[in-house]
């Protein structure tokens, strides 16, 4: 780590604190590019082993070789936060990145979704994930790589299927159905009971066992971990470990536009105000900034996806300019991307940025659609609905242990990809160990069952 950059860290932190950012201390660490890449692939510095990460790793390697992506920093929220910086960063890049990281640290300390997550998961997700990785390597030693892999195949296939509105540590379902509310004991009741003693006794019937699940359950990882008929306790631990990590990933996923935009807004602003940064470093850093928040690749005319850094950055600039910093901070604390885009992406801004809605045919032909602000907002948000996954819930467990899963096609608008669904059921079947039936719809919209085995 260059000592030169170190001397700026403290001054940037002071400047950030003066500008109203409130953040937990951040540990900075410069690491080799190869490690940066692994962090990006795994999402956490130390995480459980699984071959699917190997696949992502290959894609990352290819991307890096093609020069598509370069990672400057990865930051993990917590108290203290951890920020990993690429060793190959120059001084200017590091100054920019430090400011950017402080923006993230401010965001993750104050945004409600992050706060809730940290209350649930703890402020030490990095250590927790490392603990999970250790626990899984122990499981591999005791139970063999193949059985652990089968459990991980199933758990990671369902990683998006959690219910973030539930607590991380949920109590089990009540064993008995709710009893009818105690009747008010008044004169009328007494006279009524006296009329026909039998009907009064009927109310005090034996308590009814509640069905499992009592309502369609979207928290599949939790449900399988607790209600699978024949699951080993170590397999359960793996499911719960994956679920805990998903609880950590959700706020990162659901606030990406806001969070990256906020950090970009603040690195640009802090840099402007940092009079102690030498002229040349400032110019280099600003160049780097404009690369990061660039809407479209230099050679292209249009992009069919929106750079979240760019969109978030532009929106925050607009909000701060029109409503002031106080209002911006309130929005930052209370919203996630859904509220943020729906409430604050205005017609003027969309036009200014040249955002459009399109429809792409499978042969690659793209047609730009009519302007429609509500439609545009939803097109931006659609990949984020329900943690990016179809709405699948556990609806019933039959007497023989058969698990019934139901896909809510009215919410998602169309049916599931059958081939993939079948594969997921195969993974899950090895853990559930009883038949599984998944209901979805076919192309024509009529019901369809996918089963395993």
């Amino acid at each position: 780590m260059s000592g030169e950059w170190q001397s700026y860290v403290r001054r940037i932190e002071e400047l950030a604190a003066r500008s109203g950012l409130r953040f937990h201390p951040v540990d900075f660490e410069a690491v080799p590019d190869s490690f940066m890449m692994e962090i990006a692939v795994y999402g956490l510095p130390v995480r459980m082993p699984h071959w699917s990460f190997g696949v992502r790793y290959i894609y990352q390697l290819i991307q890096r070789h093609m020069g598509h992506s370069r990672l400057f920093e990865v930051v993990f929220p917590g108290n203290p936060g951890h920020a990993y910086l690429a060793e190959s960063n120059g001084l200017a890049e590091n100054i920019l990145v430090t400011a950017h990281v402080l923006g993230h640290a401010d965001f993750s300390r104050n945004n409600l979704l992050f706060r809730r997550c940290q209350e649930q998961v703890s402020e030490r997700i990095v250590e927790h994930a490392a603990q999970h990785a250790r626990q899984i390597s122990q499981a591999i030693e005791t139970h063999g790589a193949q059985r652990v892999e089968a459990a991980l195949d199933a758990a990671l296939a369902l990683e998006q299927h959690i219910d973030v509105d539930q607590a991380l540590r949920r109590p089990p379902y009540p064993e008995y159905a709710d009893e009818p509310r105690a009747l008010v004991d008044d004169a009328f009741r007494r006279r009524f009971a006296a009329l026909e003693p039998a009907s009064a006794a009927a109310g005090a019937e034996a308590r009814k066992r509640a069905p499992v699940p009592p309502h369609p359950e979207r928290d599949l990882l939790w449900f399988v971990a607790h209600y699978a008929p024949e699951m080993e306790s170590w397999e359960r631990d793996i499911f719960l470990a994956v679920r805990e990590e998903s609880f950590y990933f959700y706020p990162v996923f659901a606030t990406q536009i806001m969070n990256e935009g906020w950090a970009s807004y603040w690195h640009a602003r802090l840099l402007r105000e940092a009079d102690f940064v030498p002229q040349q470093a400032y110019v280099d850093a600003i160049k780097c900034h404009s690369d990061v928040v660039r809407p479209i690749a230099a050679e292209a005319q249009v992009a069919l996806n929106i750079n979240p850094y760019h969109l978030g950055f532009a929106m925050w600039e607009k909000i701060v300019a029109s409503q002031g910093l106080e209002a911006a901070r309130r929005i930052m604390e209370q919203d996630d991307d859904f509220g943020f885009v729906r409430n604050h992406l205005t017609r003027e801004l969309a036009d200014e940025l040249g955002l459009f809605r399109y429809s792409a045919r499978s042969d690659g032909q793209v047609k730009v659609l009519e302007h429609d602000l509500a439609g545009l907002r939803e097109a931006i948000l659609a990949p984020k609905y329900n943690f990016g996954a179809p709405v699948v819930s556990a609806s019933r467990v039959r007497n023989d242990g058969t698990l019934e899963l139901t896909h809510d096609s009215t919410v998602d608008g169309r049916g599931l990809d059958l081939e993939r669904s079948r594969k997921v059921l195969d993974y899950l079947h090895r853990i559930w160990r009883r038949p599984i039936v998944l209901t979805t719809v076919n192309q024509a919209g009529s019901g369809l069952e996918v089963t395993a085995p």
Binding site: E14, D27, G43, P49, Q301, G354, F356, A360, A382, A389
Partner: protein, 390 residues
């Protein structure tokens, strides 16, 4: 903020594990291992790959897709809607500029399915091992009778010999024996040294010759020849496993027949009609001149489209009968990439007769690269049910 500004950069020297160990590479290896398992489960497809055989390196290159870890996904819609940015007006129509580009940036839980293909190399020997396991073939029996082939075997000890053959244990024993005698000095002398001796011994025949006869008449297309080549390749692999020395003879014929070396063999294309007896006589000639059927295991594999001249039937039948008397096995593959005639051809009938007569012969119709696996399996299993020497 800033109460705790002291500790920065972690503890130096403590955790640099990531420089020594790459989790990404570990999981990548596991992925490749899984791919190999999957490929192994689909052997017929590898074998069918006509272009992939690289004989010099003794490897087969198989293009494989990256495995996908499956998640629930919605069905791909006819028309996908999205949001984009740039200079575009409503109603503009253009081709997706980002098609075939790499997958998106990092994202939690995101799985990308770009069309990346890996080219994995498999050792031919491994594949043959798998094949053998798959078919559970008992090993072939060596043909009876002595052969010219002989080998050196260890036999006895002597006081003289090459230094490399010194048997230290024996020599030391001699020393101990001598030391037991009164008045002896406890040092090695030349007297003590014992050398292992070798002797030439005749071995039972483990020598094989495979004749590959290919019809190169005008009716055989390039694709037919390639089919035959792929099939022949796997035959050699199968037999090579059984015999320490395997010779190959390549004969091509139209109305005449010629012997070729391997590289030229598959390039040959001729024109004109098909006279199988010409090729068979050539095979017979080479067989008589070079190989003693008593000492070699002889195999003949014949690939043709089956359109033998009708006038040749009697001669071909006679020549084939003479050859099958001496071979361990005679196989006929009918390559017809166009239409499948299921061995209902002149040559097909010839072999059917042979088979009916109880000779070690078999035939198989090869219409597509997918059939190569079936053909290999057919010949190698059949051939064991009727052991050599019929």
């Amino acid at each position: 903020m800033g109460e705790d500004g002291g500790k920065r950069g972690g503890s130096p020297g403590a955790g640099k594990w990531y420089e020594l160990f790459s989790r990404g590479a570990r999981d990548w290896l596991r992925h490749d291992e899984k791919v190999r398992e999957a490929v192994r489960a689909n052997l017929p497809e590898i074998i069918a790959g006509g272009d992939v055989i690289n004989d010099a390196a003794r490897t087969v290159r198989v293009p494989v897709r990256m495995l996908e870890h499956y998640h629930f996904r919605l069905r791909r819609p006819e028309e996908q809607q999205g949001a984009g940015q740039g200079k575009a007006k409503p109603g503009d129509v253009f081709a997706d500029p980002a098609r075939d580009k790499g997958p998106g940036e990092k994202g939690a839980g995101g799985t990308e399915d770009g069309g990346v293909q890996l080219l994995l190399e498999f050792k031919v020997d491994d594949i043959v091992d798998w094949l053998w396991e798959e078919m559970q073939l008992p090993n072939l029996k060596a043909r009876q009778g002595p052969s010219d082939e002989s080998d050196w075997v260890r036999e006895g000890w002597d006081r003289r010999g090459a230094r490399s053959r010194l048997d230290r244990r024996r020599s030391f024993k001699e020393l101990v024996k001598r030391r037991g005698a009164p008045g002896a000095t406890p040092t090695f002398t030349d007297e003590d040294l014992r050398f292992r001796q070798l002797a030439r011994r005749r071995q039972p025949a483990v020598h094989a010759v495979v004749f590959f006869m290919l019809d190169v008449s005008g009716s055989m297309s390039d694709r037919d020849r390639k089919l035959a080549k792929t099939f022949f390749f796997w035959v050699v692999q199968g037999l090579r496993r059984e015999y320490r020395s395997l010779e190959t003879v390549f004969v091509a014929h139209t109305t005449e027949a010629w012997e070729f070396n391997e590289p030229d063999f598959f390039q040959v294309s001729g024109s004109g009609g098909t006279v199988a007896s010409a090729g068979l006589l050539k095979v017979r000639e080479i067989m008589d001149a070079r190989y003693n059927p008593g000492r070699s295991n002889i195999y003949l594999f014949y690939a043709s489209d089956g359109d033998n001249a009708v006038s040749d039937a009697a001669e071909a039948r006679a020549a084939l009968a003479a050859i099958t008397a001496e071979t361990c096995y005679t196989g006929y593959v009918e390559v017809s990439s166009g239409v499948s005639r299921q061995l209902d051809t002149e040559t097909g009938r010839l072999f059917a007769e042979l088979n009916a007569a109880g000779c070690a012969a078999g035939s198989y119709a090869l219409n597509d690269f997918d059939d190569v696996w079936g053909a290999v399996k057919h010949f190698f299993t059949a051939h064991n049910q009727e052991p050599a020497g019929a």
